[in-house]
Symmetry: C2
Subunit: 350 residues, 2 copies
Amino acid sequence: MRTVEWNEKIGAVRMIDQRLLPGEFRTVEYDDYHQVANAIRDMVVRGAPAIGAAAAFGLALAAKQDRSVRLGELRAYVLEAARLLQAARPTAVNLAWALERMLKVAASFQGGAADLRQAMLVEAQRIADEDVEINLRMARHGAALIQDGDTIIHHCNTGALATVDWGTALGVIHMAFEQGKRIHVLVDETRPRLQGARLTAWELQQYGIPYEIISDNAAGFFLSTGKVQRVFFGGDRMAANGDVANKIGTYMLALAAFDNGIPAYSVVPTSTIDLSLSHGGLIPIEERSQDEVLNIQAGGQPVHPQGAKARNPAFDVTPHRLLTAIVTENGVVYPPYEENLARVVKKGGS
Amino acid sequence: MRTVEWNEKIGAVRMIDQRLLPGEFRTVEYDDYHQVANAIRDMVVRGAPAIGAAAAFGLALAAKQDRSVRLGELRAYVLEAARLLQAARPTAVNLAWALERMLKVAASFQGGAADLRQAMLVEAQRIADEDVEINLRMARHGAALIQDGDTIIHHCNTGALATVDWGTALGVIHMAFEQGKRIHVLVDETRPRLQGARLTAWELQQYGIPYEIISDNAAGFFLSTGKVQRVFFGGDRMAANGDVANKIGTYMLALAAFDNGIPAYSVVPTSTIDLSLSHGGLIPIEERSQDEVLNIQAGGQPVHPQGAKARNPAFDVTPHRLLTAIVTENGVVYPPYEENLARVVKKGGS
């Protein structure tokens, strides 16, 4: 099944509740778009492309919920719902991108309110289907960069669970494995939410790909030993110059790869590339609750003194100078990024 | 009380059991040197200088345990005990350094076996007392580098708990605070054993120094925002050229500081400097049990799939090119390190 999909029978969005993995595989269904917004904020669903699809279905759901007969009233309702969905996660650009596509349908629609409801659902479905197809194209482009015998460091979760299906950076790794390349993955556990240890390890286990979990801060050691050939991660928002906001820790990982001459790749659909931002310093960085840092135990015991406070930025910006290449559905992009990214984004739009 | 000390009344080594902090403050007493070796391996006591003092007391204890009347037999017993203590942690040079000092006393001693037992205890006590004095000198040299209003990132635990008393890098921070400088510390939680979240946070709370815990992988974000002025860490073994083996993650932290032009300092007693090693690549790196990585829970739930494997290197090597200066008890050392480190080490020996 897909990470996010529309359940036609009951008219609801169905998602895998990723907060329960790897302990339990459970799906949840939402028939109210407010629930979808909460699910995005609480990270029932996470990963930029999956969030985009979830928001699109959420907006189709909002249109379905509204009882307006007049097109103008339905449009106003949908616009309001889009604002709420947008506010759920500020950094991921796919969220804004998907909502914009949905709103464009609403704005340009000619016909009755009921027909618009149907058109919005069709558009959300198209966004989801396109995501799967785009991921497969990225995976094929990226897999060509992986050699038989490679050991690869991967950050966060960028697999099927981060997208509608298949994945971005982990999709590339999965594809290389499907092509018969013998690979080994060192999985950054990805503090504080441990998406690597929880989700990437779980996915790799499903695929039968050999892996070991490492502390994020051990990546530098492994990179310096000469036993790692490649580093792969995704991206939540990329500026026009290739600077990429991604899960906290990506910057330090990319730095360590660069310092050791190991290639590092960001795998992003062109929907993640925000040409309106000239550089990464303009990307807003979400700071999440300190509880995400503090809520771990070791051997059942708390690991910080009572009353301790924490900071929890969810993303950092990796400067484009640290990226060997950027993998998109329209091909692998090399520097100079400003010029070459603009070209692949246009290619997608043409 | 000190982190490691001799309990004269019962003839035993007393230590704070650091595995129980911050939940519980408890001391343990060992009257068998095998227990001391186990305590070092199991990290009841940790931190290079504290390990050195613990090993010294452990060897004095071994001498006390042996019933030999002849000096030669006692010497042979002590040598065997030193081998066992040495094997407990391979990376920390203070362990070897302290044992060597103790063995020198044994080798050069003129007199009866009972007198050697006493002489070895005196030497262990001297090592412990000197550690406190050396730490105070390092703290004063290092505190001069900290400005009023600084925000400082600190890795692992290098405080009173890592030494006999006072600390190395955290001793410097503590001293600056005692001098009236207003400082704020961002505490790397320091996966996998979380010595930062557990011990450094606990110490800072005792001293009343404001702090916040961060994921290790968030240091790069904070360094890139321009809101951090300095980075401090200790060192477990430093080569002649200034390359320093320290807690896993130090290399990536130093890289991120360097990339943002933020000064990074390693604070080490000269006993940590191993002039026999020309560079850091020669330092053996201990790999510890995967359980240290895997044994965490979030909200009481496991955070990795059943059967997951992990890698757990305990240290990495930070190249000297990333260090702004090295703080020792004999002064602050700037590049060229090879020349200037040799000078401060000799100064200590003169």
